[in-house]
Subunit: 399 residues, 2 copies
């Protein structure tokens, strides 16, 4: 762990969090970057250096026992909650002073996953030849992200995390942290996640990667006008195969929500005065639900790089906590001494509750699965996470 070459610095430029003028390096919710050295990926390939963008909230105790590692989902980022700027985070209300993850008590660290596009090194980052890595970016696994985040723990002086927590792919990352570095995890909270991506999750993911690669603007993955300009710089937004990325997002988004919710919100209504029944040689008008998916697609395309989507999606497909560890049950069963808190969304049809139940049945402390009850589907881990607050405060965050 070449921590001797690791340097923490302010991110060079992430416009959406800029504008606060002089900001102390340890202020809440400020994007900064750990520059770390050469990294050899689990399944092959090496990068000469990796930047890990991250944000923190709160203050590390003298004994470094109050650090919480909070891991984002597939297209999530480091901005979990408000900090010195008022920009809301994706778990706002759940993380902050006096919140469930109380930043008056805990030091919360949220790193970006390697392969991403929000400041952490990914396919849009510059290779030594000055071009973006693009198609040359190594195949990435969830375990690679754990090994890189270990360097961040070292740099921050955290020997063991009080808790590692995440939802969806963040839950997979949390579980891999526990299995890869069990001595550095005291509590683990996977929410709406699985111990190993299933055949169906792989199937949904395959389609998404194929839609991106089908787009004529994919250009074999080397579509960048220019690589990221510096550490912490976001890359690839709106570039390359945006139509394919949009289709991938629509696909994913359906699996994140539920039939019941779509039916209640949209039914068969046409969008405003559009006419869905019409000649396909003209522009067919849309149903409301189509317009909604178009909106979701456009939003993601404006904030995410297609290659990062590919890299991280394939990492998630690779997720299997039992790989090389004698299978899932053996891997989970070996994690004595870590307190697990396992949660699921009752209406989730991407990470079925049965998968959380199976996970909980095989970790040593055998917790009851805690449920978020909502018709929304998988995205309940974002929209309704506070349903877990009481149970979390009784257990994981009781001290």
């Amino acid at each position: 762990m070449s921590s001797d070459v690791d340097t923490i610095m302010q991110a060079a430029g992430v416009p959406k969090r800029a504008g606060a003028g002089e900001r102390p390096l340890d202020a809440d919710g400020v994007l900064r970057v750990l520059r770390t050295g050469e990294f050899a990926f689990e399944t092959g390939g090496t990068l000469p250096g990796v930047d890990i963008a991250y944000e923190t909230w709160g203050t590390l105790d003298a004994d470094a026992a109050n650090a919480v590692l909070l891991l984002h989902a597939l297209t999530g980022d480091t901005h979990v909650a408000r900090g010195i700027s008022d920009e809301p985070g994706w778990w706002d209300g759940f993380v902050g002073p006096g919140r469930t993850i109380d930043t008056d008590k805990y030091f919360v660290v949220a790193p970006g996953m390697v392969g991403g596009c929000n400041g952490t090194t990914g396919p849009g980052s510059a290779a030594p030849d000055g071009r973006a890595w693009g198609s040359r970016f190594p195949f990435t696994t969830i375990r690679d992200s754990v090994r890189l985040e270990e360097r961040l723990a070292d740099a921050l002086g955290v020997d063991a995390w009080h808790t590692v927590i995440g939802g969806s792919m963040g839950g997979a990352r949390a579980l891999e942290w526990a299995a890869t570095l069990p001595g550095r995890v005291r509590r683990c909270v996977p929410i709406a996640a699985t111990a190993a991506s299933t055949a169906e999750q792989i199937a949904f993911a395959q389609i998404q990667t194929q839609a991106i690669r089908l787009d004529p603007d994919f250009a074999g993955g080397d579509y960048y006008r220019a690589p990221a300009a510096g550490p912490g710089e976001a890359t690839g937004f709106g570039e390359g195969p945006v139509a394919g990325l949009g289709i991938a997002r629509r696909m994913a988004h359906i699996t994140y929500r539920s039939d019941v919710e779509f039916d209640a919100r949209f039914g068969r209504e046409p969008q405003c005065d559009e006419q869905p029944l019409g000649s396909p040689s003209l522009d067919r008008g849309r149903y409301q639900v189509e317009s909604y998916l178009d909106y979701q697609a456009a939003k993601l395309v404006g904030r995410f790089d297609a290659n990062s989507y590919l890299v991280i999606t394939e990492a998630l497909m690779s997720h299997d906590v039992g790989r090389g560890r004698g299978g899932v049950e053996a891997a989970l069963g070996a994690l004595e001494g870590i307190e697990f808190f396992v949660a699921a969304v009752d209406s989730d049809r991407l990470y079925w509750p049965a998968q959380a139940e199976a996970m909980a049945a095989h970790v040593p402390n055998r917790p009851n699965v805690e449920y978020i009850r909502t018709p929304v589907g998988h995205d309940g881990f974002l929209t309704d996470v506070e349903q877990l607050s009481a149970a979390l405060k009784r257990t994981i965050f009781a001290d």
Copy 2:
């Protein structure tokens, strides 16, 4: 109903059913064609003539009271069962001499849906200018198919169908028959279907149509080397946006099956000696489930035209038995005198059982929903339809 211009003829050439030499025009399972005249589509557009390909089994009684209309699903065709050739059909074992739909007793008629590519007029058929209709093909609704099949009923001398039956989109077609021409339907059997396509079904469909249109070989829908050569000729197989059509099929296929089945069949196994974990700049190896979806995609691309997939998918999106009839409940409630038999697949997550329950609750005879119980998902209407045999023989096919 210009039945004076309608002519029934042997299909010009459908290779997969050819080779039987001289075949009588009324032999079981022989593709033939009704050539019918000008047709004005429900939402605009007119074709100067429409061919309806169809097959029949059994013999029409003197009083024409034993005719069963059997309607195929999205990518189905007219070949429901074996006939004078031994080629198996998609409901083989369910339809035939001594089977549930007993062709010793019933005269079974299976027409291809307008817009298709297996002999019925569709986008790959020749327009008067000698080119394929392609992008010029009119927007098609399920009601258009009913109106055209009405001409077939006229030509065959069937005033009222003993039963109209179908699964999935075939169930939507059956229901539309009942609602559009209630005087011509005595019994109606929608299986694994809905009274109106829901927001989620529309959402899944939108993605599929977008994947096809994203393919650079789509060429705006005008990709045919040549139109169909004659009546009953299949068109467009393997032409145009085959990659996009393959993605659409993969997407659809996941919704046709189930998480449980995929997990049991494939788990996380790699395909043979392929290596799913590897550099994306190389050809990444596949998981078994990916190889399976690739196979499903290739199979469809070899037997279906992408434009037909678009036309019929958009027809299914438009499906709403309540449109222009005061809503679904009013439309169903008005169908006095038709005996409904409603069936669902318990593990179906595309046409949820709740949709069949809602349908059954609003048709006048209020049947109990009959269930196909299988872990397979929606495709249970194909793989396990014989679970309905006993109930169907007690009710619909009791005479």
